[in-house]
Symmetry: C2
Subunit: 261 residues, 2 copies
């Protein structure tokens, strides 16, 4: 069966997250997109994504795949993005689609991912950013936050930054890069790239760094928290609306065998 890979962008505000949660009555992104694909392809759909984003978290380029019973000749030149426009709310946009090789798997194949976190740093909140950024009113010390971020980079155990109740056995991940910068004079952005991320790991890292910054504690506490391998010693997660899944990287070999539709 032909395998289709596609990228999708979404505003996570009005969804309960990628996957349905037990609580809440908002739809899941996964169910909403699957529903649209079912209508278009007139078949059952098993949809996979690079990972699950939490309720309120956004994506610029989430990567997904599914297999279709539609023969390959009827897929060439098929505009999935346009077809899905009629099926999806305006908060979800399919950006690009490819015919992917059988050994491509959106969840298993990634070798790295980039997330971004945005904070409005201004005396007053903005009505246009409440859905899209955290808000901190005291002037943020990005130099200090970058001091904290240095300890996050490397191949190490991130158990302290894994949210309770969702433990996975292997908590070692590699963070290649983690950096704060001013996106605009009053918007701070944190960009982090790693081999993979534990549940709420980015939000827990950001939340902990913000706590240290606000309380004027030494940046080296980040190191101590990592070494403790204990969620209880880290700070609370930063709010979900500031977080964006920016990009998922796959091995070049797999990318080269994907054919743009």
């Amino acid at each position: 069966m032909p395998r289709i890979k596609f990228t999708v962008s979404y505003d996570g505000t009005d969804f309960c997250g990628w996957q349905r949660q037990n609580h809440g009555d908002k739809p899941s992104l996964s169910a909403t997109i699957t529903q649209g694909l079912k209508k278009i392809f007139d078949q059952e759909i098993s949809l996979f994504a690079s990972g699950r984003t939490d309720a309120g978290v956004h994506a610029l380029n989430q990567v997904c795949h599914f297999d279709t019973t539609r023969p390959i000749e009827r897929l060439k030149g098929f505009n999935l993005s346009r077809a899905m426009k009629t099926q999806l709310p305006s908060s979800i946009v399919v950006k690009k689609a490819w015919l992917a090789p059988d050994d491509f798997h959106s969840t298993i194949s990634p070798d790295k991912k980039t997330y971004r976190y945005l904070i409005l740093n201004a005396p007053q909140p903005s009505v246009f950013l409440t859905r899209y950024a955290d808000w901190v009113y005291h002037p943020l010390n990005l130099d200090f936050l970058n001091e904290c971020s240095k300890f996050v980079v490397g191949n190490q155990d991130f158990k302290s930054f894994q949210s309770v109740g969702t433990e996975v056995p292997h908590t070692v991940r590699e963070v290649f890069d983690a950096k704060w910068e001013w996106r605009r004079p009053n918007i701070a952005q944190f960009t982090i790239t790693g081999s993979g991320f534990l549940k709420q790991m980015v939000r827990n890292i950001v939340g902990t760094q913000l706590l240290l910054e606000r309380k004027h504690l030494p940046a080296t506490i980040m190191k101590e928290i990592l070494e403790a391998k204990d969620r209880k010693v880290a700070g609370p997660p930063a709010v979900p609306q500031g977080l964006y899944l920016m990009r998922v990287y796959y091995p070049l070999d797999l990318d080269n065998r994907c054919l743009e539709l």
Copy 2:
């Protein structure tokens, strides 16, 4: 009674407009803000604004005023912005407040207003801008749109750009400035400043200009439409979510007699 002037910013998406409309079940901005003021001041409130914005239209600095029974001594240093934060949804933020002279009236006193209109000009829509901008996918010709805008500037009858069903007798207004420019490489912005605006006048002007641009019609048609003084010859209004009330200007003499709280 002391008169309080304040500026307020709002995301108009989830409101039926400034004033309650007959249709729809969304709350009005006016009712939501009045409700908050009632709670804080524990009195009936007559709230006035510089003008009414339509459903879906945003404001960066709408100007309002009301009179309070609270004595002036208990208002000095009173932080209206902070007090209202507990009463309002995150889509409405009171920015600043002043003690205004008795002859200040937010609706009657303005001598000019600035509106802005945003358009995402890109092959695909953005999930983060559907609430905040119109979307045009073909590359916009801003030079042409600026040609059209020239005809709008001046002291003239804007009857052709007044929405039907809401006629006012005097349809002459002065537009001081109207200009298109690239806000970012893929976001076009139209900024218009005038002595006052008729119902949906900015959206009708933008919608008509976009129609002429899309259909490759001559810019001079703008002049003909103005001269016709007939709403039926103009184009449809541009969508409300692209429009922002940016600033309301009052005579310097009044501004100088307002005391910041």
